[in-house]
Subunit: 212 residues, 2 copies
């Protein structure tokens, strides 16, 4: 199944592996390395070399030479494919434990995401900063989104509040929602929702534990 009917077909699995490659490639690039092989990249990730080759081809990485592939060119190809060569301005709704943790992550900027505003309804948080990000009242969503030209919403509200906030976001013209609330969001066609489900990873681990 592919998300990209209008573009060339790239699987979700490929897309989800790209950040793993990037992480290793950034490291190597930082050490001054210029060339690497998919076998070396396979050793540093949990991905077979043959899959890596196909993935890199799919995102248009410069084709492999006998000596390996060019690290810098491959980084550029992946960043470009994901749109991580430009920063997407994002905001976060819900500054509870998880929301605050995400605001504290410094790594998002390497991944094309800059969280420039946060929203909440709690009087003790509104008007303050969390990890340097200003917290606005949720009632200000529309005006702040427009003023700051925000594109991506990170949703870390309780499940019961998620759909209501989503309806507001859609009304404000937001087209991409990264949803950490444990509910399925109803959105109109044309709005992308990426569901993060922490329980899925836990299920996988528990099933492995039981299977041994």
């Amino acid at each position: 199944m592919s998300l990209f009917s209008r573009k060339k077909s790239i699987s979700v699995q490929t897309i989800r592996r790209l950040p793993q490659y990037l992480r290793v490639l950034y490291d190597w690039h930082g050490y001054g390395r210029e060339l690497a092989s998919s076998t070396e990249l396979a050793e540093e990730t949990q991905v077979p070399a043959i899959v890596i080759k196909k993935d890199l081809q799919a995102v248009g990485a410069p084709s492999k030479m006998r000596a390996g592939f060019k690290i810098r060119g491959t980084i550029t190809a992946i960043e470009n494919f994901l749109g991580w060569d430009n920063l997407n301005k994002a905001f976060l709704v819900g500054t509870g434990h998880l929301g605050a943790a995400l605001l504290g992550f410094s790594g998002f900027k390497n991944h094309g995401l800059e969280i420039v505003a946060a929203f909440d309804t709690h009087p003790e948080r509104v008007g303050h900063e969390i990890h340097g990000v200003q917290v606005y009242h949720t009632a200000q969503l529309k005006s702040v989104i427009e003023e700051k030209k925000l594109k991506i919403a990170v949703l870390t509200v309780p499940g019961a509040a998620a759909q209501g906030i989503t309806d507001t976001l859609v009304a404000c013209g937001i087209k991409a929602i990264w949803n950490f609330a444990p509910v399925k969001l109803a959105v109109p066609k044309g709005v992308a929702v990426q569901q993060e489900d922490i329980a899925s990873g836990l299920a996988e681990l528990c099933a492995r534990l039981k299977a041994r």
Copy 2:
């Protein structure tokens, strides 16, 4: 590909969908409902009804009757498959932003996981409680693991510290590690590592945004 060569083969994808089903089934069960159809479950999740049918069969849920499947029996079958009918005692290493957020989640007990201890090296955290969980010094890992009979490690340390801690955990006999640090861990055969990679979800969302 299946994780379970020794048992009947269940795909990772099936396992990762099970918590979604459980969430809806818990809700329905809470409202006093007894029967449901896979079509109804499909409406509440993002999963096609035919896939749901196969998944429920695979984990040994009571077979479907004309009126639908039994909600209580299906919950029991999934919980039993995942081992979520018994609480696994877990501990968390690294009480930074993300670690503290995970300690604050109340939902893990519904997922067979009880975090009963935390570890860190920061003097201002060791000896205190975070969300009711006692923080010990990392030097006490071995004794606390043995004393409390802990089974599952949740790893929320910085990337640079992750492998060192992992080596200690393996030496303490830990067989299951839920890894939130952005590095690949080297572990001996027989130790299950579940890698959570928050950047993968972000990559998916960004690729969708770019594809439109």
